[in-house]
């Protein structure tokens, strides 16, 4: 079991840092197709912010706020966003995952962005869920 850390410096700093880490993760996801980054990298950083909080505050507190069932739902939600965009492309007449046909401004960029968001959510949920499973020792 990972318990609460005794030092107050670690608790304060991780509480301040966590939102900035998440913001940076969102930045990395959004800028995936014009700079290094993308769904997987951003998702790992997003998951790392939760793991940081879990190491500082103990795993029970984080589990209260982010239960395992919700994590499983997040995993599936990411895959469904991916599949939804893919199938919308194919319903509108083109091949699967052919973004050029979406009826938005700048279709290829927006399609890729949607896919990366889906991948990011799934990867975040999987990282936190792996951490939960590996740190409960009975």
């Amino acid at each position: 079991m990972i318990d609460k850390h005794e030092s107050i410096i670690i608790k304060m700093i991780s509480r301040i840092l966590a939102p900035f880490v998440q913001l940076y993760a969102l930045y990395v996801i959004m800028h995936g197709h014009t700079s290094p980054g993308g769904g997987f990298q951003g998702g790992v950083i997003l998951g790392a912010s939760f793991i940081l909080l879990a190491i500082a505050f103990g795993i029970d507190e984080v589990k209260e706020r982010f239960a395992e069932r919700i994590l499983t739902t997040f995993t599936s939600m990411g895959v469904f966003i991916y599949g939804f965009i893919g199938f919308v492309c194919f319903i509108l007449g083109a091949n699967f995952l052919d973004y050029g046909i979406l009826p938005v401004v700048e279709p290829r960029g927006m399609g890729m962005l949607g896919i990366e968001i889906g991948v990011g959510i799934t990867v975040m949920a999987v990282m936190v869920s792996i951490f939960y499973d590996l740190s409960t020792y009975e």
């Binding site: 700079s35 997987f40 700048e106 990867v123 792996i130 499973d133 590996l134 009975e138």
Partner: protein
């Protein structure tokens, strides 16, 4: 001869890392060390792939300041570093992370069951 030895140094590095990983998988008795050996094996291949794409004097493969397709930039593609191996290796890294996660979960269950992680003790307890 010198070009063969020095010019292809990425091959020597990746083969060296791969053999370290392979030795750890075979020669060590602790299961966690075998897992680390498998990890080093995988990462050496990923490093090798990334090193393939590098070019002398190549710049970052990002097309600047265009919305739309920018097909007229493609003709200068030879001055950019090849981005395809990088993209392929993203997928391979994800696969490696997934495999490590599954293997660690298995090791946790093995430890809960047999109370040890040394291979010879586990084989003795299984009999």
């Amino acid at each position: 001869m010198l070009e063969f030895l020095v010019g292809k140094f990425n091959y020597y590095i990746y083969i060296f890392l791969m053999m370290i990983g392979f030795y750890a998988m075979i020669g060590k008795r602790n299961l966690v060390k075998k897992l680390i050996g498998m990890n080093i094996f995988q990462w050496s291949i990923i490093l090798y792939f990334v090193s393939i794409g590098a070019k002398k004097g190549g710049s970052i493969p990002i097309v600047e300041g265009l919305s739309g397709h920018g097909a007229h930039i493609v003709s200068h593609a030879s001055q950019y570093v090849n981005p395809l191996p990088h993209v392929l290796m993203l997928t391979a890294i994800v696969v490696g992370v997934g495999t490590t996660g599954v293997a660690l979960a298995l090791l946790l269950r093995i430890y809960n069951k047999y109370k040890t992680l040394e291979e010879d003790e586990i084989l003795r307890k299984m009999k």
